[in-house]
Subunit: 427 residues, 2 copies
């Protein structure tokens, strides 16, 4: 069978499974999720063995130690996957929720009601725990999942999916075995083949580095929900509380610099630069943050730089918009709110941006006019996250504006339909 035919067949089976999933009620789905969790815990040895096979290949491929670390499935990580599935079981069912209800003058009753999306393709790299997390969230929201992890993790991904499917079917005979499938080939051409199947596949969510996501978006004929990167800004307004501003900036930059909601660029209003930058510079120096700054910011950081306490380079044009994912900070002094917003809207990634100010009017302007999935007033950008937003679990973060935006939990894995109840109405 050609690769195209193989993908078509795989996707058709997913589509059929998606239709059957609408027949499982909440209790049945939750029972399946608990059975899946238990199966993972009871089969740690088998998972470990499959994972060891992947690790051996990965070492042979010369993957970096960081990549290999992410690939490892030890007991704790398997327990964490299982716990994740139990937590998804505990969340409310996102399907069948009435979003809107209206009775028309002719007596027709309309209900706008959440439905599964259908068939969701997840494309990801390295970390095999995504297999359980994504499949669990998609299953709870009534979607069939097609999983395509990295080739370095295929044995781990396959055994996780198999255990989940077997456990679910053993506990619930109506569970459709094709509801969770792993693409059985590591051929790269499988991705464009799968993402050309607009009749079968409803959505693709790539998770990983910008290169992977761009490649997926470029080749896909089905809708893609994604974020390329997180170039998050904090803007310290002229009327900011200085201590709060420093705390937020340091937290947003240093608490976990490798994640997409960490700050990459700090904008400081000229009205407060002299007051705040020396103290902020000390805090940055303590946290070993390297600054890529402009002329004005250098001026107020000069003593620290000259004493060799703070590492400073001149910012280049490419520093605006750079995603360092590291203890590096682009720093610019801006004339006012307008310049700050223009800078963010031009160089930002539409992920998360914050203003620190005591002035409500400036905050409201910022919150309204900065075009990002999450905008903050006096809080760290680090909160853009499904768990922090109270969604319970997160399948990804979107910077798109069609479909879900921001952190995506169960509700964001749904579509809707209009149910129309009549008594014989005609036009």
């Amino acid at each position: 069978m050609s690769l195209d035919a193989q993908m078509k067949e795989l996707a058709s089976r997913s589509k059929a499974a998606a239709r059957q999933l609408t027949g499982l009620d909440t209790e049945q789905k939750n029972r399946c999720l608990h059975a899946m969790a238990q199966a993972l815990c009871e089969n740690k040895a088998a998972i470990g063995k499959a994972n060891e096979q992947d690790l051996e290949t990965a070492r042979g491929m010369g993957l970096s130690q960081a990549m290999i670390d992410r690939l490892v499935l030890n007991e704790a990580r398997i327990e964490a996957m299982a716990q994740g599935l139990r937590e998804v079981a505990a969340l409310p069912d996102p399907i069948g929720r009435v979003l809107d209800e209206r009775e028309r003058p002719n007596g027709l009753l309309l209900q706008k009601i959440t439905t599964p999306i259908g068939v969701v393709v997840i494309i990801y790299e390295s970390r095999p725990n995504v297999t359980a997390d994504a499949a669990g969230l998609c299953f709870k929201s009534g979607n069939a999942t097609i999983l395509r992890g990295g080739k370095e993790a295929i044995h781990s991904n396959q055994i996780i999916a198999e255990l989940m499917v077997q456990a679910a079917q053993a506990c619930e005979p109506h569970f459709p075995v094709d509801a969770i499938q792993v693409v059985p080939t590591t051929d790269r051409a499988a991705i464009p083949a799968l993402l050309s199947l607009t009749d079968e596949v409803d959505l693709c969510m790539p998770r990983g580095g910008e290169g992977l996501i761009r490649a997926v978006a470029e080749c896909s004929k089905v809708p893609v929900i994604k974020h390329y990167k997180g170039v998050c800004h904090v803007y310290i307004h002229g009327q900011a509380n200085a201590k709060m501003a420093i705390d937020i900036a340091i937290n947003a930059k240093t608490q976990r610099p490798g994640v997409c909601n960490a700050m990459e660029t700090l904008l400081v209003d000229a009205a407060i630069a002299e007051k705040i930058l020396p103290e902020l510079g000390e805090a940055l120096a303590r946290h070993k943050v390297e600054v890529r700054g402009d002329e004005v910011s250098r001026k107020w950081l000069a003593p620290l730089i000259d004493q060799g306490e703070l590492s400073f380079k001149w910012a280049q044009e490419e520093d605006w918009g750079a995603e360092y994912l590291d203890l590096i900070l682009a720093l610019k002094v801006v004339a006012n709110l307008e310049e700050a917003m223009a800078h963010i809207n031009r160089h930002g990634s539409g992920h998360s941006d914050a203003i620190v100010t005591e002035d409500p009017a400036s905050a409201e302007r910022f919150m309204r006019d900065v075009d990002a999935s999450a905008v903050y007033w006096n809080a760290s950008t680090r909160f853009t996250d499904g768990a922090e937003f109270g969604m319970g679990a997160e399948i990804g973060i979107s910077t798109d504006k069609v479909g879900a935006r921001g952190p995506m939990g169960l509700d964001e894995l749904t579509s809707y339909k209009w149910r129309c109840y009549g008594k014989g109405q005609i036009r």
Copy 2:
């Protein structure tokens, strides 16, 4: 300037205009819409002149009379466009609506709030009134519009857009003139060029025949919301009220056969076929509907067919899934609810499907498991329409499952963002 550069420049101006649109409040937007309406009414002669230029070209191109009819802008149609804009002004502002609000344990207050999508490209054919309708709806929802109509209507489209922009700016100096733009070239290559600009364009909505929509979806790198066609079904269940079933079937097929929510295929349950088909056949014959049926349906229609009262052909495989947009009906007798749903999910277009039954359990199964943007119990499929749904105005109908589904009004032209209000929270 190359076409690519020209489109990039056009789209960049739209993006800048979209940013400025967030600064207009509801009252300002409504004043602009009224000014636009008035300008159209006051410039009927100029619009008529531009339209006459298009009509001349169209006649020269040998367009069909139906196409030419749709192109005509007479006084009544110009008044209707203006009235449409006034009605949009009267609708509630869809922007700034709080969709969700939650306070987190750390005191962070989250508001999920509607925002404009940004830059919306509308691609359409022939009818120049779409220019005013689409631009008006997009403007009210804070979006910048790039309009690309058919080349046969370019002068009409251009003058409508120009009058709207001039009127809005005269009444509201903050109105950004690039908020409504008509693609200034009729070059076909402009469409893929425009739809590759993922940094500037947020959404494309093609309106027209299936060929146009497929071509747009095929070339677009930006999200597309669309429906290819409307292959709507009515399923007469074994426990249907026969009179209601016949009324709904005849209405869905004949009241306006050329539209996307008209029925194309009628499924009749075997349990009721003998009882209902002879009378239904008479009604179809009275409405001059040609039937493409299967063996069982022919059996119960035989007297009418044999007497030459009802036109009948054997249904071919391609009749299931055909969009006739005409007084032609595909007709099949199905064994039960399961077969009806399987047929619809396989051959339907996910637009609008109805069940006629007195049995609530069967109706609920149908409403849950038929995968369509609108599902009906005891009502005609003809109600899938923005006005009929109480949306006030409609920019299109979507059969997609990411973003809006079903009729799209102002609310469906929005995205959302999370506004997060803190007091210095850090992680």
